[in-house]
Amino acid sequence: MSSAARIAASRAGEIVGPANVIDGADELAGYEVDGLGPGAAVRPGTAEEVSELVKYAAAEKLAVIPVGARTKLDMGMPPARYDLAIDMTRMDRVISYDPGDLTLSVEPGIPLTKLAATLAEHKQFLPLAVPFFEHATVGGTLASGVDSPLRHAYGTAREFVLGLEFVSGDGALTKSGGRVVKNVSGYDLHKLMLGGIGSLGVVTRVNFKTFPRPTPARGFFAAFETMEKALELRQRIMSSKLSPLTLDLGSPGTAELFSSATAAKIVPEAVTADLPARGKWTISAGFWGSTDVSARYERDLRQMAADCGAARVDVIGEDEIPGQLGRKREFVAIVSALSPGAVVMKLSVRASQLRGAQTEARNIVAGAPIDYATLTNGAGVIYFAMLPRRAGDAAQACRQAAGQIMKAITALGGYATIVRCPLELKREISVWGVPREDFPLMQRVKRAFDPCNIFAPGRFVGGF
C-alpha cells in the first residue's frame, strides 16, 4: 500500500470508523474495476458520512467509485484513476413505505431481493427484473442503467424513480424530484443519474413508485423456423390491443443457452416450454389478469401465432413464470457464465429496423469463428451476444465484428454499445460506441455535478 493510500485509508477511517475501512490486499481485490484496484474501500453508514468522504476526496483529488454488490463493475471503460471505493452495502434500510400511496423510500445498498420481500408483504413489487437479481443492490441497478424485460409494460427506472438524494462532486448532500407520483418542482436532475454509472454523484436515497404485483401471471411461447415469421408475430402483438407484461424475441442460439445446464444453475426453475424451442426463433410473452382476461390473451395470442405460421405454441402457468422471466432477466449473466470471452452488445433500433439490424449483425459474424445468441425486448433493444468458439483469433474476430456492428447500427439510426466484454477489447474500442453530437452537452452536465472530476473518471461515455 502506498503512503498516499495509507493516509487516505486513515482519514476515511476517521469518517466511517476503522471497522468500516477495507485496506487488506485480498479484500481490496474484490473492488477492482477492469484490473485497477483502489487504495482503500470504505463502507459508510449514513448520507452524512458519504458527504464527508466525498468532501475529503474532492479536496485531495482522489478518484472515487461508488459500488453496491459489485456485480456489474466491468461496465463502461476502464477507469483512468481509482483511489477510493465507497461501498454502499451498509446503507440497506427501507426508510419509509406507504403501501396505500404505493410509494417507497430506500437506501441504495438494499439488495433487490430484500426489497422484493418487503414489497411482497403488501402484494406489491418493483418491475426491476434485472441481471444478477439475486445479488444486485438498488443503487447499482439504477446507476448501471440495466434494463428489464418488464420495461415493456412498466418502462425503465426513469418511469418509476420519483426522486433521489445524492452527494454531488463537491460533497454537498443534494436532492431532486420528491416522494409524490407527479411532480415538476425544479429540474429532474435525478434522471441524469440513472445509467450514469456513478459518474455524477453517490446516491444515498431512492424514492420509488411501487406497483401491485401482477399475479397470477401466465406465459406464452411461440417457436418459429425463421426470424421473419417471429418478427411478424411481434409486430402484430405490438399493433393489437393486447398489453403483455413482457414481449421478447430469442434467436435459436438463445433457446440453446436457456435450455443449458448453466442456465439452470443461474435460474433453477424448470421451463419445460423452452426445450422444444431449441433451434427455433421464439417469441415469449407474459400476461396477467382474471380468468376472462387471461383467456382472451391466450385465445388472441394463439390465433396470431397460428396466423404467423408458428411451429409450436405453449402457454405456461404461474409456477413457470419465474423460470421464463428469470431466463430473460439473466440473459447477460447466463452468457457470461457460459462463455467468459463473450462480447454482449446492446443494439437499440426502431421496431421497423429490428430485422435489418439482426440481419446485419448476423452477416458480420457469419464468416468468423463466433456463435451468437440474441434476445430482443419489447422496447426494441437487441442484446446481441457473440460467443467465440475458441481462444485467440476468435477474440480478435469479436473485436472486429463489434466495431463493424457499431457502424452498421449507427447507419440505421440506432445506438450500439457493449454491455460486457473482455478487458482487452476495451483497449481498442470504446464500449460506448460511435461518438454523438450531444457529447458537449454531457460534458456540461458532468462539470456542473462533478467540478473536480473525481467520480469514476474515464469510465463513462466520452471518457468522463
Binding site: 406507504d98 404505493l102 407527479k182 440513472l194 450531444d438
Partner: protein, 485 residues
Amino acid sequence: MDHHLLHELEHLLGHDGVLSRPEDLLLYEYDGSVEIARPQCVVFPAKTADVVRIVELSNRYKTPIVGRGAGTGLSGGALAREGGIVVSFARMNRILEIDIENHRAVVQPGVVNADLSLAVAHAGLHFAPDPSSQRACTIGGNVSENAGGPHTLAYGVTTNHVLGLEMVMPTGELVRIGGKAADAPGYDLCGLFVGSEGTLALVTEVTVRLTRLPEAVKTLLAVYDRVDDATETVVEITARGITPAACEMLDGWTLRAVEAWVHAGFPLDSAAVLLIEVDGLREAAEEHAAQIAEVCRLHGAREVRVACDEKERDLLWKGRKNAFGAVGRLSPTYYVQDGVIPRTKLPETLREIDRIGKENGFEIGNIFHAGDGNLHPIILFDARDSKQFQRAVSTAEEIIRFCIKMGGAITGEHGVGMEKDRLMPFLFSEADIALMKRVRDEFNPAGLLNPGKIFPTGKGCGEVRVRSQRNGAETDSTHEESSPA
C-alpha cells in the same frame, strides 16, 4: 428596445414576423396564470434557422429571450419577466413525420397537442399527455413544462413520451438529443430538458412516442354527499392497486359552477363527484369498472353512474375540462394552485384547505387529479382590491406549505415559473438549488434565456401583478383555452 435589434429582427423575419406596437404586445403580457410581464417585441420564426439567428441576435444585443407556445401556461413560464424578445412558435406548427409502424411522430413545437392525436387517430394511436388546454396548448409548451393531464395517471406525463429533441442552445448551437430508438447512450438529456421550463434551450423539433388507443373505455361518475367519502374512495382505489386511466374529483361548489354552464349532468345537491375512467381490453375494463363501483358504494357513494355511450362520456369530460372557464363566469379573477400530496393524505388535506379558506375569508373550490394526489384549489378573489389579492396569494402559499408538510411538492404539472420561485426554498435546500443553478449556468451562461424563472429572485410576491377583469372580457372559446390541466 434597441431599434437596431428591432430592425435586424424585421430584416430577418419580415415586417409581419415581428410585433412591437404596445397594443400588440398587450396580448403577450399574460398567460393562464395571475402574472403579467410585457415583452418589448414578439417574433415569429418560421424555421429552425430563424430561431438560431434570433438567439444570436439576443446574445449580440444582450437582450432576454423567452419561448412561447399558446400561452396557456399557469406559472408565468412564457412571460418576459425581464422584458426582451418573446419567441412565438405559432408558425412552426407542422407535423413533420408520422411513423405508424414505430409509433413515433416528429413535430415542430407549435403543433397543437390535440391536433397530433387527431392526425394519428385513423391508425388507432394518440399522443397520451392530455392537458385540459389540449385544444389550444402546443407540444413545445408541453415539453417545456412537462405537462400532465387527467389521463397521465395511467399513461405518464410528457417526459414519458418524448424520445428526442432538436434544440437551439442559448449560445446559438443547434443540437439534437435522443432520437426514435430507445436508450440513447450517455446521460438522459431528454429527462433534463423536458420540464426545464424554457430555461435551458429553445426546442425546435420534438420526437414523441404515440400510444395505442384502448379497446374499451368505461367512464363512471360517483356521487357523494360528503367530501370525505369521495377522498376516502380514492385512497382505497389506490390501495387496492387498481390504476384507473383517470380519477378526477370535483367538489360541490365547483360542480355547481360547471353545471350552470356546461350542463354535464352533475347532480347539483351533491358534496362531491368522482369522475373515474378505466380502459384497456374489453374484459379488463368491465372488471375494473365493477371493482371501482363497488369501492365507491362501500365508501358511501349515493349513486354510481356509468356513461352509456360516447356522447354521455364526452359530456362528463366536457364538464371537467371546461371547469376553469365555468369558474371564470363567477369571479373577476381566480387563482389556481397546483400542490401534490401522497394519496393517503387526501382526506386530511382537503379538510385543511377548507379550514384555511374559511380562516382567510375565501371560497375555495376543488377540482383535481385525485388519482395522483395533484390538487387544484381555486381561490376566487377580486383583483381590483389589492389587499384581497395579497391575501389570496398568502392563502395559496399556506396551502402549498401544508402540502409540503404532508410529504408533497409545490407543483405537480403547472411548473415553478415566476409564480412559485419564492416557494422553492420550502422544498429544496440551498445545496439542491445551487446544483440546479450550476446546471442552468452551464447551458444558459449569460442568463438571457427566460430569466427570472424557477430560481428564487429575492423579489417578494408584491412584485406579482394581476390583470383585472380579464375573465370578464373573455369569450366562451378562450375560457377553454386558458383552462389548466
